[in-house]
Amino acid sequence: MIDLRPDLAIIARNVAPDSRVLDIGCGDGALMAALRDRHGVDARGLEIDPANVSAAVARGLSVVQGDADTDLAGYPDQAFDYAILSRTLQTTRRPDRVLDHLLRIGRQAFVSFPNFAHWRVRASLLFGGRMPVNRLLPERWYDTPNIHHVTIDDFRAMVAERGIAIDAEWFLSGDKRARPAGANIFAEHAVFLLHR
């Protein structure tokens, strides 16, 4: 069995069996395949990169090539138990609108993202004066797809402003779980389960 990326593994463990899932930014379909094969989940995907779409379709998955910023409007309300957006929020042009679509399409939404307030990022900016290029954020400022860097505290503030409830949250440092206390400094990634 293929090992899932840690944030995906958390999501996979917390999706109810036999549910309906829309995975937005599904990549080559690794999470969808795991959900389908291990949990009997009816998974659909949206992915921007055609090579990834082809790979996912070749796995027998139902994946549509499209852009989270423009192609979510065509999905009907509450058509899925979960909408999943893993490491994609920070790449969208309007994360707020994408989040609204997630919670319109899915009864609940999983959102994972890299935490821009991690201490390594802070240190890189504070002491180096340069935009960080590290394991967490491997691209340079000009070729990164991450156009809306976000911190855990920023995300909490946004969902609070929009009346979105946090049902669960998980934090990761490397491949290991991090404690919620001080997550905005010590967590590299966050995973939230939300509903409206």
């Binding site: 082809s54 549509v64 065509g74 058509a79």
Partner: protein, 397 residues
């Protein structure tokens, strides 16, 4: 280059055996094989209100049906295509038009699938069309052939499948007009299909699509040899008109970049422009050849009827104006593919299909592939297309 598929059946002889739905499908069954022809009594009720009886089919099958024929795949051909999807064309001698997709080791494989391809209703390669003899008069139908629709083509295909003992298709696959038929299958026989592959197609003909077809039809009808369609007896068809129709249409199958890459402004077998109206440019010579060679294998009236059927195609309109309604009754999986340089049926048309399928909560995959070759890309070598179709047909659940 020319390659014939291995087949367990005899490639010749007309099939006059009556329908035998309950009879066990045997590999040596005369219904199966290359260059088959059958006349079924029908009647076939048409969208126009007319009915056709009998109905003739020119078709080919490859591979062997399994016990319940659940490995059957129907391939639907495009406007000027035919049933010779993976075997040499009897007129041109060219290899099958989709032998890149259909054949041993290919995504649609006669070693695993029972593959059926029939000449569409209205065409001229053995299925009922304007060149067919009208039993009422003993002369070709010509323009007395009823106007048909894409849905009529699909209904005819269903008749043939009944005859072949295929109750449910593993998949229906088509590009261009073949994709329209595949979509129409999902709407017309929602329980008879498990999977639908729609390549470089649309759920409705646009004004631009209709406009180009009208140019072609007018070219045919402006040819004095067209004679209101009654040219069969004189054996002097409106070849010039049909050639112009084909030339105009052929441009729409290519792309500006593809034409530039292939021809640019290169001159045809001459050093300088001739200051005349001969085919100075290679692209002119190419188009003239495409037009002329087309007239050897295609009937002008069939071109009129099939383009009309395509122009009438609007699957949403057939279902209360909402395309999603066309798909509600089926549990089939869908795979929609477009090409980025196809301006005849652009990606936006495929996206409209995908959105309707999403709105109907159907299982759909969609990918836009990159190719410099425009609409024709679906017929050309495309490892990505093959990978997508193979994956979709092979691993789907």
């Amino acid at each position: 280059m020319a390659r014939r598929l291995a087949t367990p059946t005899q490639p010749t002889g007309l099939n006059q055996r009556p329908p035998g739905r309950n009879q066990r499908a045997m590999p040596d069954d005369a219904r199966y094989g290359l260059r088959r022809h059958v006349t079924l009594s029908g009647p076939l009720s048409l969208d126009s209100g007319a009915a056709l009886t009998p109905v003739e089919f020119g078709y080919e099958t490859y591979g062997v049906p399994n016990a319940d024929a659940s490995n059957a795949i129907l391939i639907c051909h495009a406007l000027t295509g035919d049933q010779y999807v993976a075997s040499d064309h009897p007129v041109t001698g060219k290899p099958g038009w989709w032998s890149r997709m259909v054949g041993p080791g290919k995504p649609i494989d006669p070693d695993r699938h029972f593959i059926i391809c029939t000449n569409v209703l209205g065409s001229c390669m053995g299925s009922s069309g304007p060149a067919t003899i009208d039993p009422a008069t003993g002369a070709p139908f010509a323009m007395h052939f009823p106007v048909i629709t894409v849905r009529d083509m699909v209904r005819a295909q269903a008749m043939l499948l009944d005859h072949l003992g295929v109750s449910r298709l593993h998949a229906v696959v088509g590009g261009s007009m073949g994709g329209m038929q595949a979509l129409s299958w999902a709407a017309t026989f929602p329980q008879r299909i498990e999977a639908v592959v729609v390549i470089a197609s649309t759920a409705r003909h646009s004004a631009q699509n209709i406009a180009f077809h009208e140019v072609g039809r007018q070219a045919i009808m402006a040819d004095p040899k067209w004679r209101e369609g009654d040219y069969y007896a004189a054996a002097d068809p409106p070849a010039a008109g049909l050639a112009v129709a084909r030339m105009a249409a052929h441009i729409t199958y290519l792309s500006e970049a593809g034409l530039t890459e292939k021809f640019g402004r290169k001159l045809q077998a001459r050093e300088a422009k001739t200051f005349g109206f001969d085919a100075d440019f290679q692209v002119e010579s190419y188009l003239r050849y495409q037009g002329l060679s087309f007239t050897d294998r295609f009937d002008a009236n069939a071109y009129l009827y099939i383009t009309r059927a395509m122009d009438y195609f609007d699957l949403g309109e057939e279902h209360g104006g909402l395309l999603a309604n066309a798909f509600r009754a089926t549990d089939a999986r869908f795979c929609v593919v477009s090409f980025d340089t196809d301006w005849l049926y652009p990606t936006s048309e495929s996206r409209a299909i995908v959105q309707a399928l999403n709105a109907a909560a159907k299982r759909v995959s969609f990918v836009e592939l990159s190719s410099p070759f425009g609409h024709d890309a679906f017929l050309l070598e495309s490892p990505q297309l093959n990978a997508v179709v193979a994956g979709f047909l092979g691993n789907g659940r």
